[in-house]
């Protein structure tokens, strides 16, 4: 079966400014694709290109096997939810939801039937006669979803739909969107700058920066094997520790030396990655530094570390140390004995570390 969305060598320029460079993405029916990146990375522009709201400067765009490169938005069989919800202010909720059907000339009975179905699905039946101005943020969000759902499109597009909600509601709606995706089995493209949203919702993530795709992969691939320093730093909270280190490799193993402010360097011996250059940046997730015996890493190495700061966060306790001139965060269990100013024995999970070249930022292992 043809991919539901297939983007080939897409370019987008505004005048002489290149906004998107050589974008290649394709997703299958039922995929949840999340475009994530810092603001100004071109993710929203890419979504607008998929919707047909922005013409593309080069390349091709196929939806459900049809070439949609020059097709107008209304004929692309898509529905879109906007950041500001973009509800029509002078229309009631019911009219907002049925507007698209009315424009396409769907008969009144079908309109009502679909409206009721969607209203029931989203539990907005009591709101149908209100105007958008009389709704709360969460309710508006639901109505905006309703307007998209009623279309029953090939592809749903979401442009940062949760960023105007408060933190609690955002988490609720996130779960709801995920549930909706699983129930409908629909294909979705979702833009966000929030990496947690990306991780929790996606079946496939595209990390973008400066109009260029940095990495495409499943949430696990992106998280565990970031393709470069940017992805490593951007995905994950607290961020991955990126520590400059010196490497001495021989045929047996790599000896990785991490300088410390006080005392001898930490030396880790990695037997899996043998062909490393002399200078590397080693990337360790905070949860891959733990107290010995607490997490079962496959290849752990222990070292004595001086703890600077202890930050209890309820479920976990974060401790901050100095290594290689950087702050390094480790995620320990809640009842840890670590104390600021004291040494703590910690185990590094070498099975999960990433190595990056300092000059190019590219992944080495």
């Amino acid at each position: 079966m043809a991919p539901i969305l297939d983007i080939k060598n897409l370019y987008k320029n505004y005048g002489s400014v290149e906004i998107l460079k050589d974008i290649n993405v394709s997703i299958e029916q039922g995929d949840f694709l999340v475009l994530v990146g810092p603001s100004g990375c071109g993710k929203s522009t890419l979504l607008n290109c998929i919707a047909g709201l922005e013409p593309i400067s080069g390349g091709e765009l196929h939806i459900a096997g049809r070439n949609m490169t020059d097709v107008s938005p209304k004929d692309r069989d898509i529905a879109m939810v906007f950041q500001s919800y973009a509800l029509y202010p002078t229309m009631t909720v019911a009219k907002n939801i049925t507007f698209g059907m009315k424009v396409r000339g769907v008969d009144a009975a079908t309109q009502q039937e679909k409206l009721q179905k969607v209203a029931r699905q989203l539990q907005i039946e009591p709101l149908l006669n209100r105007r958008p101005g009389q709704l709360s943020g969460g309710q508006r969000q639901r109505v905006a979803m309703g307007r998209a759902l009623v279309r029953d499109p090939k592809l749903f597009l979401f442009d940062e739909p949760l960023s105007n909600l408060d933190a609690k509601l955002r988490v609720e709606m996130r779960t709801e969107i995920k549930e909706l995706h699983q129930r409908l089995g629909a294909s979705m493209v979702y833009v966000t700058h929030d990496q947690i949203e990306a991780m929790t919702l996606a079946t496939k993530i595209v990390v973008m920066k400066g109009g260029v795709i940095q990495q495409i992969g499943t949430p696990a691939e992106i998280y565990n094997r970031p393709a470069n320093l940017f992805v490593a730093d951007f995905m994950g909270n607290p961020a991955m520790n990126l520590i400059p280190a010196k490497v001495k490799s021989d045929s047996e193993a790599s000896r990785i030396e991490i300088a410390r402010r006080d005392g001898a360097p930490i030396v880790l011996t990695d037997r899996q990655n043998r062909n490393l250059p002399e200078d590397v940046i080693i990337g360790v997730r905070p949860e891959d530094i733990a107290e010995p015996g607490h997490r079962n890493g496959s290849v752990t190495q222990e070292a004595e570390c001086m703890v600077d700061i202890v930050e209890p966060a309820g479920a976990d306790t974060y401790v901050v140390m100095q290594m290689g001139g950087k702050h390094v965060t480790a995620r320990l269990h809640a009842e840890t004995s670590a104390e600021p100013g004291k040494a703590q024995r910690l185990a590094f999970d070498l099975g999960k570390v990433s190595y990056f070249a300092p000059e190019t930022g590219q992944r080495l292992n």
């Binding site: 607008n48 919707a51 709201l53 107008s72 938005p73 209304k74 898509i78 529905a79 879109m80 906007f82 950041q83 500001s84 973009a86 509800l87 029509y88 202010p89 002078t90 507007f99 698209g100 424009v103 396409r104 307007r147």
Partner: protein
């Protein structure tokens, strides 16, 4: 309003504050009286008989209220050789102002919608030129406009005057609507596009229903301009198509013998009534709409 007494000690402050407040009201009242005086003279004079005007005081209230002058002004006063009052000219003005206001407002709304939400190459230059049109003095366009009207075969007709006023008003109405529409988020028209709505559908179903405040501004502005216009009216009309402003001038200037001040005053009030009425009815939306449109621009 500034409170003059704000720094004075508490013991004096109360009397001083009240005193100053009264002083303020008296000054404001005097200004209001000063501004209302001409209207007062107009109304009282129009209600007096000629005899009373000759013998009495300009400021005095009428001893005997009579509406004769109003009747004469409306249907019998002479403009040159014709003596039908201002009535036919009043209707001329209505026939000119109403279509011209509606057409220029509608076209201005469309222009504003296009300039704000359907950016095309050169949209900004187009808008700048429209704005430039607001600053061209009336006198400059008289001759070229006369040629154009003659060329179009509508010189001296009411449609001709409507045409002139629509053209001249477009710059302003476009400016009003453009500044109002740029405050409407682009996502709204994007959502409608995805919903399948086209150019006109989005305009009629989404933008126009949102536009009431700015429509009121445009209507008041255009109605006042067109109704009060004298220069275009006197230049591009002929006998029978003159608007009321021109007729008023003719009544006042073409009488021979005794000046009928009461009739002149009544005619002047009749000529001013519709704009007054528009302000009273829609005035509060005027300020609101003007400021709503000018928040972003």
């Amino acid at each position: 309003m500034t409170d003059f007494a704000i720094d004075t000690p508490r013991s004096q402050s109360r009397t001083l504050r009240i005193g100053l407040r009264w002083l303020l009201y008296v000054i404001l009242g005097l200004f209001a009286l000063y501004y209302l005086l001409p209207l007062f003279v107009m109304i009282t004079t129009s209600l007096k008989s000629l005899e009373e005007i000759r013998t009495g005081d300009l400021m005095a209230l009428p001893r005997e209220v009579t509406f004769d002058a109003w009747r004469t002004a409306w249907s019998k006063a002479c403009t040159g050789i014709q003596c039908n009052g201002v009535k036919p000219y009043f209707w001329n003005s209505v026939l000119i102002a109403v279509p011209a206001v509606l057409i220029s407002t509608l076209l201005g709304a469309m222009n504003g919608y296009v300039v704000a939400h359907w950016k095309f190459k050169g949209a900004n230059i187009f808008f700048a030129l429209m704005l430039f049109g607001c600053f061209i003095p009336f006198q400059v366009v008289l001759l070229p406009m006369a040629r154009v009207l003659g060329f179009m075969g509508i010189a001296g007709t009411i449609p001709g005057l409507i045409f002139v006023h629509v053209i001249y008003g477009l710059g302003f109405t476009t400016l009003f609507f453009r500044n109002y529409y740029v405050t409407i988020p682009a996502e709204l028209s994007k959502a409608a596009k995805v919903d399948g709505a086209g150019f006109f559908r989005i305009f009629w179903s989404i933008f126009l229903p949102l536009s009431l405040p700015i429509i009121v501004v445009s209507v008041i502005w255009q109605f006042t301009q067109i109704w009060n216009d004298f220069l275009f009216g006197v230049s591009f009309s002929q006998s029978g198509t003159q608007p009321i402003t021109v007729a008023l001038n003719n009544i006042v200037n073409s009488t021979t013998g005794v000046k009928e001040y009461n009739v002149d005053m009544a005619a002047a009030i009749i000529a001013a009534l519709p704009t007054l009425l528009v302000y009273v009815v829609a005035g509060k939306y005027f300020i609101r709409g003007l400021t709503a449109g000018s928040v972003k621009g």
